[in-house]
Symmetry: C2
Subunit: 216 residues, 2 copies
DNA sequence: TAGATTGTTAATCGATTAACAATC
DNA sequence: TAGATTGTTAATCGATTAACAATC
């Protein structure tokens, strides 16, 4: 299979596959079936096979998928066979927390620069990175070939920061601020706003309202 | 409209509506149409009308929606007309960052207890809350009627913490650890793992692979 | 009244799942 | 060979969007 357009739902599952495959690899498991994957990841095995088949024939009938080979392929698909440099804008608590994941998420993605608007923050060290003034954003993005920006500034600054990132030539943005950003179509934007997640959870709290289903 | 089962996609948009409506209210805008909402939130107006109509006839033909009334209704739908107590497990950087949003997200959701397994953390103050040992989780959850748990512990501890939260009678979990948790069907689980988000962004980086579309 | 906008049905679009021939 | 499992088509399911009568 080739040259269909891949839906975002599919793309978002690839890192989930990758993560579990890495774990299997670490445990020296060499082969895995879509059924095992599905069980562990709470996904339908047919869906997993279909997802992978968009990108190539990675499995072997009767056998399953070779773990090492599939890891390699998914990393290629996700462009993680090259180092991807990331900028973090906003050196507050959340920004600092994210920068700690630097080692953790490795996988060739790396936060290589941290920016903040506040004079107090500029010059501080965060995980071996020195916080730079926002004014340096354009120059630094170009110099280090930074392609993804993470926004962890307060919501009222988020759009401005996004605009600056886009001006600097960034290709994708992960936005933690609880606001809807406007970006040109060629810039990929993912929202990572946890307040939305948390508030929506409240809907499901039992309440009498609709706690009763037809079981028992 | 009543008594259809509401999809999660719909539920997750409600906090987004609520947030923007709060902003309108602050700006003393009293009425809003689905078209305006759609424009601002990047959603189809028909979808917004349909979403809201699942829960009642909140709008007025020819006029639109009364901002204050709609806020009240959405808050009721999301169970935010009562205070919802939240526990945070994991007082690391991310946990501390989230607890700072306490004031921010208000809306009747409140982190009222913080837990950590490490002796170093226990007893420390985080935003006026004293970090408690995980052993106290069951008792504290019951005493304070805590209904939602946020997990910000390392991935290898996440399942154990989830089990403890569930034992304690929690009804919903927001999981920041990059791992798939197994929870019983009656517990609502949302994943808030930003590494997945970030890795999936890399897929969209221009690369020659599929950078060329039919524009230009 | 004329213009605007809802609530809702029908049409469309897209994503998930089932089923199975191919084949290891 | 018999059993297992893929890749893929067809069926199903669900979500989004268009269209429009009702009505403010």
């Amino acid at each position: 299979m080739k040259s269909e357009k891949i839906s975002d739902a599919v793309v978002r599952r690839l890192p989930v596959y990758l993560r579990f495959l890495n774990e299997l690899s670490f445990r020296e498991v060499s082969t895995v079936s879509s059924q095992e994957l599905g069980q562990k990841l709470d996904l339908n095995p047919a869906q997993i096979r279909k997802d992978l088949a968009y990108f190539g024939d990675f499995g072997r009938k009767g056998i399953g998928y070779d773990v090492a080979y599939l890891i390699e392929k998914i990393r290629q698909i996700l462009n993680l066979d090259q180092q991807i440099n990331v900028a973090l804008v906003g050196a507050g608590n959340l920004g600092q927390a994210l920068s700690n994941y630097n080692t953790y998420l490795k996988d060739n993605m790396k936060i290589v620069a941290v920016f903040d608007a506040s004079e107090k923050k500029v010059g501080q060290k965060i995980n071996s990175l020195t916080v730079q003034p926002i004014e340096d954003l354009g120059a630094t993005v170009k110099r280090f070939n930074i392609r993804i920006g993470i926004i962890t500034v307060p919501d009222f600054e988020a759009q401005r920061v996004a605009d600056q990132l886009i001006d600097a030539g960034i290709e994708a943005i992960l936005n933690f601020a609880p606001t809807i950003l406007k970006v040109p179509a060629e810039v990929r934007l993912h929202a990572a706003d946890f307040t939305t997640d948390l508030l929506s959870l409240a809907y499901y709290l039992g309440d009498g309202k609709e706690a009763l289903t037809n079981e028992s």
